[in-house]
Each structure stands twice: as structure tokens, then as C-alpha cells.
């Protein structure tokens, strides 16, 4: 599968995939993302639900068994992990290039 079509990622998607490296339900992800981003990225409920739906369709996350009867649990798949890694490398590169330019000045 050609995973590079998922790049570049939105900040929201990037955080969700990171948050779901450990299994969690929608609201847990919302809280985790807010915490990870130090309150900067706050995902609203409707946006969260739509994002989980889309990531599920793209097979970057998958449902896992949930102890809660009402709330579905998801986890980042191995494809999701790969995409996350590719995005991190892309960002790292951007940062490196920027720092090089800064040093020159």
C-alpha cells in the first residue's frame, strides 16, 4: 500500500495517531491530545468522531475490544505507525533545514 498519500498530515491527525498508540475511546483521545499539545490543540466532539471514522476507513486505526458497552475503543495499526514515522521524519527534515539556515545567518 502506498502510504505516502497520507502525507503531510494535519496536526490533529498526527496527535490522534500518537494518542492511539495505546488503545482508547474518543473522549480519552480528546483529553490526551489536549494534554500532549499543552492545551494548544483542542478537538471538538463532532470533529473527533469524523476523524476516527476517516482514520478507520484508511485503516490507520482499528477498533479493539472495549470493556465499555457504549464506547468503542481504537488503536493505531501498524500502517498507522508507519505513516506516523514517515511524518516524523518529514518534520525532522524540515526542522534540520531550518536550523541550518538559521546558523548561516
Amino acid at each position: 500500500m502506498n502510504l505516502s498519500k497520507y502525507l503531510p498530515m494535519t496536526e490533529t491527525t498526527y496527535y490522534i495517531l500518537m494518542a492511539l498508540c495505546e488503545p482508547g475511546h474518543g473522549y480519552a483521545v480528546m483529553q490526551k491530545v489536549e494534554e500532549m499539545s499543552e492545551g494548544r490543540v483542542r478537538i471538538a466532539a463532532g470533529t473527533m468522531y469524523g476523524a476516527l471514522e476517516n482514520l478507520g476507513k484508511q485503516k490507520l486505526i482499528a477498533p479493539v475490544k472495549s470493556e465499555d458497552a457504549r464506547r468503542k475503543m481504537y488503536q493505531t495499526t501498524s500502517e498507522g505507525r508507519t505513516v506516523l514515522q514517515m511524518e516524523a521524519q518529514r518534520l525532522e527534515h524540515l526542522l534540520r533545514v531550518y536550523k541550518k539556515m538559521e546558523e548561516k545567518e
Binding site: T10, Y27, R42, I43, A45, G46, T47, Y49, R70
Partner: protein, 205 residues
């Protein structure tokens, strides 16, 4: 109290419900084709938020409602297949949104547009099916009395009014189907335009 209203813009619909709450009419139920059921209560400031979603099964619908409840919303009304999902914040006056990106807010219009397209396709197929029962002979839906149009005076009117109810009955189905196709086609095209417009706004950002 019941009110018949059709909105093709979620923001306008939200403002309408907020206005009604200010007058003391609180949304209890929404039924298809735009009938809003209100109960009378304390006039109050509410901020309704509307999502548009249909669900494949009960578990998905419950999961959806649970997520909104966890995030501080009350699901006021909405059914698994009805589309419109109405929410108010648990804490009154909270300045909250159910969408944090313009793309996701715009996606409501896409869902609605897709649903309209399906309805138009269903209406078209039904019309074709009805027409095919008569071998696509359109005159078979009109007056069938032999020599009707050659009659004159009282004979004509008697025969005409005798058959009229049958003609109406024959035409009712196709006309309703055509009406359904036109209405959904119009709604769908409006929703598509709104969606494209909102997504264009996203690209330019």
C-alpha cells in the same frame, strides 16, 4: 407546538432554535420534511448545535452519543437514520463548538448531499420501473375511454368526470416520485454548493 420549516443551512437552523428557546419554546422532536415539535418552558438562552449523520447500526449511534456526552453535550434529539442530530451544552452559556475545524463542519453538507443523491437515484429508478409496467407508453397514464376526445357536450363531461379519479390515481405515484426527485435534487445541489464554498475557504487559509 409544531412548526413547519425547511433549512438548508445549519447555522440558520441553529439561530432559529436559539430564538425559539429565548421565547420559551424548547425543541422536543424533529420529524422528516421539516416539522419541529416544541414544548413550552422557561424562556432561556440556549446554544443549539447541529450535526448531520446517519448510522449503520445501533452500536455506532450509541458510541457517537456517548462521545458527545463525555465532551459535555446533551443529545436533545436525533435518530439513527434521521440525519439531524441536535445538541446543547450541559453547562448553559458555555461557548462551545462541536467542530474544531472548518473541514469537519463542512462535511455535514457532504453527508447531506450524498443522501440527496441516493434519494434522487431511488426516485429515478422507481419512475423507470412504473413506466416500464406500461412499456414506456406515456398515453397509458392519461384518459383511456375510447373516443373520449371526439365526444361533445354532456356526454363528454360525464365520461370525463367518470374517468378523472382513475386518471388521478394512475398519475399520483409518478407525480409524487418526480416531486421527490426534484426536491432532493434541489436540496442536494444547494448542499453541494455550500460544501464547495466552505472547502474553498479552507484551502485559502
Amino acid at each position: 407546538m409544531r412548526k413547519l420549516k425547511v433549512f438548508l443551512d445549519f447555522n440558520e437552523e441553529e439561530s432559529y432554535l436559539n430564538d425559539m428557546a429565548r421565547k420559551g419554546y424548547l425543541l422536543k422532536k424533529y420529524s422528516t420534511f421539516g416539522i419541529y415539535h416544541f414544548i413550552e418552558g422557561e424562556p432561556q438562552e440556549l446554544t443549539y448545535k447541529i450535526d448531520y449523520k446517519v448510522f449503520r447500526n445501533h452500536a455506532d449511534f450509541e458510541d457517537y452519543k456517548a462521545l458527545f456526552e463525555d465532551a459535555g453535550w446533551i443529545h436533545v434529539y436525533g435518530t439513527k437514520l434521521g440525519g439531524n442530530q441536535y445538541f446543547i451544552p450541559k453547562n448553559k452559556g458555555a461557548d462551545n463548538e462541536i467542530f474544531s475545524s472548518r473541514e469537519s463542519a463542512a462535511s455535514r453538507y457532504k453527508t447531506f448531499y450524498n443522501l440527496c443523491s441516493i434519494n434522487v437515484a431511488v426516485a429515478a429508478m422507481c419512475i423507470i420501473a412504473v413506466l416500464s409496467t406500461n412499456g414506456f407508453n406515456l398515453s397509458a397514464f392519461g384518459f383511456l375511454t375510447p373516443g373520449l376526445w371526439d365526444m361533445a357536450g354532456a356526454d363528454f363531461w360525464r365520461a370525463f368526470f367518470f374517468e378523472l379519479p382513475f386518471v388521478i390515481f394512475r398519475l399520483l405515484g409518478p407525480i409524487l416520485l418526480i416531486g421527490m426527485g426534484v426536491v432532493y435534487g434541489y436540496w442536494g445541489s444547494k448542499a453541494k454548493r455550500t460544501y464547495d464554498l466552505q472547502m474553498k475557504g479552507c484551502e485559502n487559509r
